[in-house]
């Protein structure tokens, strides 16, 4: 088959890139080689339109043990000879087409990134975005994604401990499915994704290879259109049982000491793992593709190179110790074959039945090597004008504030996600302490130590849409605030950057400014970005999704007994609001969903005030001055109060503050505020500890009644019912059942 520019374009390479390939090779590539470049130079693998800006993020320091991007996931020191390995990744495009398998393989892929480094995953989280829940399409996607995450995670046996879900029209065609995994590794037992030692065997372990997922990486690098359903073969199929065995076998094989390097096969399959491991080890490989175990007959070289069949690993072993590796995989009944060897010339030579099918310099294929890096243009989005025109004084304060709260508590983005999280095994592994004692960020035990990890994902994309710079700072700040509220010290960040088409200058503006804001906040909180994932092209003919730079953050508690929970403890405890009171309704769920204002500025935020708040709160928790801490987020103060009351069915009586709009006080989303409770006997001590820090006593915990300015607003049980059942009420039983049975 003759390779032309047209072939390259069909493989989603540009004319400029095709020229560059010819220049690198000094010849016209054959079809197999062109396919390899198509996969490796796709946005998904090469980060070609993002790497310039990603490099501006703080990517080292703190407790980091490897630099960002050098391994499959971030690795940070937590003391006692242990490290935490964590990463978040998107599976948006597959999930838009086939929600069940798309989400399932997203979970499988992120766990592989963790255990390929030698760590045992102990917790997973997910960050999901869908269109409006009223829509049948959304209900279908939601049911499929939730079932897929549960199917894979429950069987694999890692608890899903937390996450976030928002519903907004902008995600109608392009849902977002971001999955995060957190694992623990012993120092000295980490494995690097490298190929070293000439003559060392290259081994292929795990599932046999089929034609599923071919071109997945380049599929994820294009907008979603009406024709996207035809890309269905680009969606992979997952087998969590196989992955569970692969996990145990990989962790066991590391103990033999026979492993030189290991990398999972995710996007762009064999070509990606062979080229990245070789480039890292400054080596090459000779691979016999006909030795790769297949589950379909007559697979061609390019299909074998690009297949994204799941649950596979590439492993480089020490020469002469193949039998030890083989024995472990035999024990777990997993295929394991030597498919080639490490060479010293930096070239990847792929043979099939003795014929050379592709010959490629590893370095030229990879990010940081020969893959292109672009400087995209950007310009301020036109809609910013509408954002600037917002004037809160034109929005009258509603007469019936209680009616607003009744609507707010039932909004799908605010209401209980019970229908979703009860379908995930959140307790397997016996590390999740937040099941019985709720915390702002889920807390998991590090077994064998007194330590705990606080883990969270956060991003309010409406704020980022209104102001990408400030919105991204808020996402980082809220993640850190959740960790501090739970008694943890923020350690580091993994990010999942979900944006529209990078060739759209307005989208790229959002991207650039979100990165700048994220970088500033991460420097402020000393939480380096350890790695992550960029997902562009979350766009369709109606436009892009809101810019959604999801922050996954991990924090450390040296002693789990020093944790802080979010729920009210006793009737009579005093309720204080820490942070600056602000007359702000901007960008709130209240303003957007109930008052119908689409454009408004990001909420009030000052990063120095945020930092001071978190420092203060950490001291209050350390000195045991408070009974509970819960941060204010979507829905504002009233929703926060309810959430704090639900666990023990305690109510509250509060007074609004003079000089503030009542709707801003109750439902505004000004940042950097935390609700705490204090026993009456310790009130003086608490107030003394606060010094001059902004703090208002706003009320008292009640036995169950909810009272605002002396008006009875019902009981906490009533509010809890509204909150708990809202999402179930959207999904009538028949509909949810039929959506699932069709899977």
């Amino acid at each position: 088959m003759e390779v032309t520019l047209k072939t390259a374009q069909q493989l989603r390479l540009t004319e400029e890139e095709f020229e560059l390939i010819k220049q690198k090779l000094g010849r016209v590539p054959n079809f197999n080689e062109l396919c390899a470049f198509s996969g490796m130079w796709s946005e998904h693998c090469s980060y070609k339109n993002s790497i310039k800006w990603l490099k501006t993020l703080p990517r080292e320091g703190g407790r980091m043990l490897v630099k960002a991007g050098e391994e499959n996931a971030g690795l940070m020191d937590i003391g006692d000879g242990l490290g935490v390995v964590f990463k978040i990744e998107s599976h948006n495009h597959p999930s838009a087409i086939e929600p069940f398998q798309g989400a399932a393989t997203g979970v499988g892929g992120i766990h592989r990134d963790i255990f390929t480094m030698g760590a045992r995953p102990i917790a997973s989280l997910n960050s999901l975005r869908f269109g409006k829940l009223e829509e049948d399409k959304t209900q279908h996607l939601l049911a499929g994604v939730v079932h897929g995450i549960g199917h894979y995670g429950n069987c694999f046996g890692v608890p899903t401990v937390g996450g976030e879900i928002y519903f907004d029209q902008c995600y109608h065609t392009n849902p977002l499915v971001n999955a995060m995994s957190v694992g623990i590794v012993k120092a000295g037992e980490t494995v690097s994704a490298t190929a070293e030692g000439i003559g060392n065997p290259v081994m292929f372990v795990g599932s046999a290879t089929g034609k599923d997922g071919i071109g997945g990486a380049s599929f994820a690098s294009a907008d979603i259109t009406a024709e996207s359903a035809q890309d269905l073969p680009a969606v992979q199929v997952g087998d969590p049982f196989q992955e569970k065995k692969l996990l145990e076998a990989c962790l066991e094989v590391i103990q033999t000491g026979a492993v030189v390097g290991m990398q999972d096969m995710g996007a762009a399959g064999i070509i990606c793992s062979t080229s990245e491991m070789s480039a890292k080890g400054q080596s090459g490989m000779r691979i016999d593709l006909d030795k790769v175990p297949t589950r379909q007959k007559n697979m061609k070289a390019w299909e074998l190179l690009l297949s994204e069949s799941q649950e596979r690993m590439l492993l480089v072993a020490k020469k002469g110790r193949e039998a030890e590796v083989q024995a472990v995989f035999d024990k777990w009944d997993l295929p394991c074959s030597v498919i080639g060897e490490v060479t010293g010339d930096g070239i990847l030579n792929f043979y099939m039945h003795g014929e050379l099918e592709a010959s490629l310099p590893a370095h030229d294929l990879v990010l940081g090597g020969g893959a292109p890096q672009y400087d995209r243009e950007y310009k301020e989005p036109a809609y910013f004008e509408k954002v600037k025109q917002f004037d809160a004084s034109a929005i009258p304060v509603p007469a019936d504030l209680k009616a607003v709260a009744e609507q707010l508590i039932k909004l799908p983005s605010i209401a209980s996600k019970r229908w979703i999280y009860t379908q995930y095994d959140s307790m397997v592994g016996t590390v999740n302490t937040s099941t019985n004692e709720p915390t702002d960020a889920p807390l998991v035990l590090v077994k064998g130590t007194t330590k705990g990890l606080a883990v969270t994902t956060d991003c309010n994309s409406r704020y980022v849409y209104a102001d990408p710079y400030k919105g991204a700072m808020i996402a980082v700040s809220e993640a850190a605030r959740n960790i501090v509220c739970s008694g943890g010290q923020p350690l580091g960040v993994t990010n999942c950057l979900n944006f529209g088409n990078p060739y759209d200058p307005e989208v790229y503006y959002q991207f650039v400014h979100a990165i700048k804001g994220m970088g500033e906040a991460c420097r402020k909180f000393d939480t380096p970005v350890t790695g992550g994932n960029v997902s562009f092209y979350n766009q369709n003919p109606d436009g892009p999704v809101n810019p959604t730079p999801t922050i996954g953050m991990v924090g450390l508690l040296e002693n789990i007994n020093d944790k802080m929970t979010l729920d009210f403890k006793n009737e009579g405890d005093l309720i204080y609001l820490l942070g600056v009171l602000n007359n702000d309704i901007s960008c709130s769920e209240y303003l957007h969903s109930i008052r119908g204002v689409k454009y408004s500025a990001a909420p009030y935020f000052n990063i120095d005030e945020e930092y001071a708040l978190q420092q203060k709160l950490a001291v209050l928790i350390r000195d045991k001055k408070i009974h509970s801490a819960h941060d204010l987020s979507e829905g504002g103060l009233f929703v926060t109060l309810c959430e704090a009351g639900f666990n023990r069915e305690l109510g509250f009586s509060i007074q609004t503050q003079s000089g503030l709009r009542k709707d801003a006080f109750l439902y505004g989303e000004a940042q950097s505020r935390v609700l705490v409770t204090v026993p009456v006997t310790k009130a003086k001590e608490f107030e003394a500890a606060m010094g001059g820090f902004p703090c208002e006593k706003i009320g008292v915990v009640s036995g169950g009644e909810v009272t605002v300015d002396g008006d009875f607003w019902g009981t906490i049980d009533w509010w809890k019912d509204e909150y708990d059942n809202a999402i179930e009420n959207y999904l009538s039983k028949e509909e949810a059942g039929s959506a699932l049975s069709s899977i």
Partner: protein, 224 residues
């Protein structure tokens, strides 16, 4: 007494059970591999545990393949000789598939996996808060078997509400007669869907599972 926890490929609560027995209950416990057969170091005072998880992937009926594993042949012999055998969740499913316990576990009535704390009660009317996590936990048997189980006090746990009332609302999966766990007629084989090993550590904020494990397995014989 000693405990042995069988590890099938796809078991994922094996370590949790091991940790609960060893660290929370201070017991002597070891792991057993599904391809082995040797139970010679266990006597009838000891207990073999079949943990939760997805043995062999459970792509067929849950537990249907595990039943044929080499270790299960030895476990069946061990049970028939009077040794204690305890199955939790997938372990309960395996015990039913192995015919060591009557009945079977069907897909949850609402067709969804469910993970949450539930309450269960026994014939002494104690109430325990214990987590469930399963997609196929709906206990089913014919009326005659159910009558027999109840007549012989072989239902060891019923799903109930916080006050101990056995109600339809408290039933998380549609199990017949709210049955959460049963034992065999000779009271040496026990199976239950809820996970007591997930409620043994003080750090997790729930230790109700300890009493279940000690009263079921560590008393000489369950009093009928």
């Amino acid at each position: 007494m000693k405990f042995g926890v069988v590890v099938f490929p796809g078991s994922n609560c094996d370590r949790d059970m091991y940790d609960a027995l060893k660290y929370d209950l201070g017991q002597n416990v070891s792991m057993l591999w599904h391809k082995d057969r040797d139970l010679s170091k266990f006597n009838t005072e000891d207990c073999i545990i079949l943990p939760g998880g997805f043995s062999y992937g459970d792509y067929l009926r849950c537990g249907a393949i595990a039943r044929f594993s080499p270790m299960m042949q030895s476990v069946i012999e061990f049970a028939n000789a009077g040794g204690k055998v305890f199955g939790v969740c997938n372990g309960f499913q395996i015990l039913c598939e192995s015919h060591l316990l009557p009945g079977g576990l069907l897909r949850n009535a609402n067709q969804q996996f469910v993970c949450k704390n539930v309450y269960i009660t026994n014939d002494t009317e104690e109430v325990f808060k214990i987590p469930v996590a399963h997609g196929e936990g709906r206990y089913y048997a014919d009326e005659k078997i159910l009558d027999g189980l109840e007549a012989n006090n072989q239902v060891i746990f019923y799903y109930c509400d916080e006050e101990g009332q056995i109600t339809e609302k408290a039933n998380p999966n549609g199990a017949m007669r709210n049955i959460a766990g049963i034992c065999n007629a000779s009271r040496n084989v026990f199976g239950m869907m809820p996970h007591p090993e997930r409620a043994c550590s003080a750090a997790l904020g729930n230790t109700d599972g300890r009493a279940i494990i000690t009263s079921l397995l560590m008393t000489a014989q369950l009093v009928s």
